[in-house]
Amino acid sequence: MDIASEVLQLFLQPENFLAIALGVVIGVVVGSIPGLTATMAVALALPFTFSMEPVAAILLLVGIYKGGMYGGSITAILIRTPGSPASACTLLDGYPMAQQGHAKKALKMALYSSVIADFISNIALIFFAAYLAKIALNFGAPEFFWLICFSLTIIISLASGSMIKGLLAALCGLLLSLVGLDEVYGSQRLTFGNYNLMDSISFIPLLIGLFAIPEIIEFYRKKALPHIKAKASGASVTLAEMKRSLKTIIRGSLIGVIIGAIPGTGATAAAFISYSDARRRSPNKANFGKGEVEGVAASESGNNGVAGATMIPLLSLGIPGDVITAIILGAFMVHGLTPGPVMFQENLPLIYALFMGIMFSSLVLLAVGNGAIKYFSLIADIPKEILFPIVLMFCVYGAYAVNNDTFDVWLMLGFGVLGYVFNRAAIPAAPFLIGFILGPMFEDNLRRSLLIGGNDLSIFVRGPITWFFIALTLGSILLALYRYFAARHQSARSDTTQETP
């Protein structure tokens, strides 16, 4: 009883509500501007939290984090420029939907799936933190290695159309991900002695270049695109669509929760894993990548599922899973609090107050997101000859803002040309991105496992988690092969039936 009143006293402060609301608004705005990431916003907001009460301070940062995670999807859907790396996957279906005049539907679906995923993630944080943290600790390099292997088999299912082109794109992505410093020896790879390439290719210029620039080139090459003007950018999500996507959203959220609970993976990978899982299961497989509302749901639930879950290793183990949680850890420490098991014993009321605030932030996200959609969706109705020059300006600015470096602007333009070539040759971008994101994780964990195990291969089968992912990987490959041959058999049979009169 005492604890309950203490918790309420800590939580029911106007300052807390203000902090959450402000945080989510800042997050959504910053997240939606390409090149400005939630990480930057959280880092910039940190000094302001020094003078605040601990609960309000943490909630402000958490609010920015959550808002930013959703905000990235807005520009991804509307102008094919992901506001943050984690929303790169959202544009695969979100932008085609906007082009077909369904911008509002895509935005609403992104919001609803984000909020639901956020909510599920919070529940996981509050009720299963201790359990998930234990799994995370058992997730070493070999377990990671097999998880990535399983995720890489996804490329097979994403290579819509031509398998050869899909694999080609994936290999391109892998090759580019090699640029930079070797993780073990520190030697340079494919940098050509250029200092700008030593930190590997920056992800944000790559994303902006790959997706936004080809649209602009295409527009000026054709001089005019048919302007689709739908009133208020189309209808909202229907109940039937929501019902259809609900399973995908829940699965995506759970994928996000698991990925988020393991330090060092990140929301971008979660979005892609959720997306490909959804595609594999969906009856509308063929429509993925062409404007499937379920695709948007899968991607957004995947990346937002991560947001609450990254707090699991932070609060229960004191381990920050990504840069943002590292900053939040800093904020805890500035207030004399050290996240970890001890905090649950010493500052229980404070943790419960934080949990209440984090739950409340999901509701705020829903309200703020709805407001944002109302105004942002008007962007879809701006004539392209006015919109595209502004988008181009944002592309240049966004690429520059990441490292304050003009090199990244050139990089972005270079990837723009590559993206245009991809478009013209009908090479899918999704496998390219998966290769680029998962490739380094694959290599790092393979080499890390070998270093830890002293080159003894038995480390790769050391426990139930590895066995589980080995089974999934093999299953995934066998299923793909079975489907491939079944489809060939089918088409061969239908060919013969057609030939017989």
Partner: protein
């Protein structure tokens, strides 16, 4: 009469004007005449960034001008440092938060276009964070001696947060001094490295103290030694590596240091003003509290002494990098 009056008036006015002008030039000469730019050679969010923003806040009160923090990440801080070394128009109002990346970077990156010692003015060492030699709680080793004896027999693994980090180089230095068998296992940052240590996948790490302090206190990790010259007040029972003495470890003193540097052309007047302001900043309670929360000690050296320290560090890491065969 009138003309005399006029002349007198004119003389008085021009005198006053001259006085006003001289006063205003005196004011204009007083550094800073513009905003001060504090360059952070890493991305937002890391220790360097957080520290810089805190210092910038306090510094702008002392200097009575804006102190603008600018992140210029790249190639382990050498991109921003190289840019500072080139000087330029606002070099007299630009300062940079240097850290072990400055000296280690100089040792492991080839063809740096600058000299890490001679091209800069060293203003003030702000804080030092000791590293701690930690092993998992269920590790069979309870002291540095036991660990070294075992590491001479069998191969040990140590985790670090990336090639060229102070954590990595501390491990390599330990390996070189004790002549033991150790394999470096790289992770992307301390956050990713810690679970491997907690879960027992690696045998030891030389982590920054703030990262592991709570785990040491909760009993999840065992601290065998600290790497600073003096014992840390956070871990008074843990010996320093130099106390151990054997296995050449008396030479093992290293901390993650953070300090402000500027271009070599940074005016003497500006150096004096900065040093005065930093002296005050470092005595302020906000700063001391902040350092305490980071598990850091306030820095000890400034000016020439700081420069001397940097020169020794560069030489030392060069040796370690050569022996460990790390070069980029």
């Amino acid at each position: 009469m009138t003309s005399l009056w006029k002349t007198a008036c004119l003389a008085a006015c021009s005198g006053g004007l001259a006085l006003a002008v001289s006063v205003s030039t005196a004011q204009a000469d007083e550094w800073p005449t513009d905003d001060v730019r504090l360059v952070v050679p890493y991305a937002p969010g890391g220790t360097t960034d957080v520290l810089s923003r805190r210092v910038a806040d306090l510094l702008q009160e002392e200097l009575d001008t804006n102190v603008v923090v600018e992140n210029r990440p790249g190639a382990g801080s050498t991109v921003a440092t190289g840019r500072l070394a080139r000087g330029g128009r606002d070099a007299d109002h630009t300062i940079l938060m240097a850290s072990p990346g400055h000296t280690i970077g100089a040792a492991i990156y080839p063809d740096l276009a600058y000299d890490p010692v001679e091209d800069f003015v060293f203003l003030q060492n702000l804080i030092d964070i000791p590293n701690v030699m930690v092993v998992p709680a269920d590790s069979p080793y309870d002291s540095v001696e036991e660990f070294v004896e075992a590491a001479k027999q069998e191969n040990m693994t140590f985790s670090h947060s990336g090639v060229g980090s102070s954590i990595h180089m501390s491990g390599e230095l330990f390996k070189t001094l004790t002549e033991t068998n150790m394999t470096a296992v790289p992770f992307a940052g301390s956050g990713a490295a810690l679970p491997a240590l907690l879960g027992g996948d690696v045998d030891v790490s030389f982590e920054n103290m703030p990262t592991v302090l709570s785990h040491i206190n909760s009993g999840d990790l065992k601290a065998l030694a600290v790497t600073s010259a003096e014992r840390s007040e956070h871990l008074p029972d843990v010996p320093t590596l130099s106390e151990v003495g054997d296995h050449n470890l008396d030479q093992f003193v290293t901390t993650a240091w953070f300090g402000l540097i500027a271009h070599e052309s940074f005016p003497q007047e500006a150096q004096d003003a900065m040093r005065e302001a930093l002296d005050t900043v470092m005595q302020r309670e906000e700063f001391l509290d902040f350092a305490e929360q980071l598990g850091a000690e306030p820095g000890q050296v400034a000016g020439e002494e700081f420069k001397q320290f940097i020169a020794e560090e560069v030489e030392r890491w060069q040796d370690v990098a050569d022996q460990a065969d790390i070069s980029q």
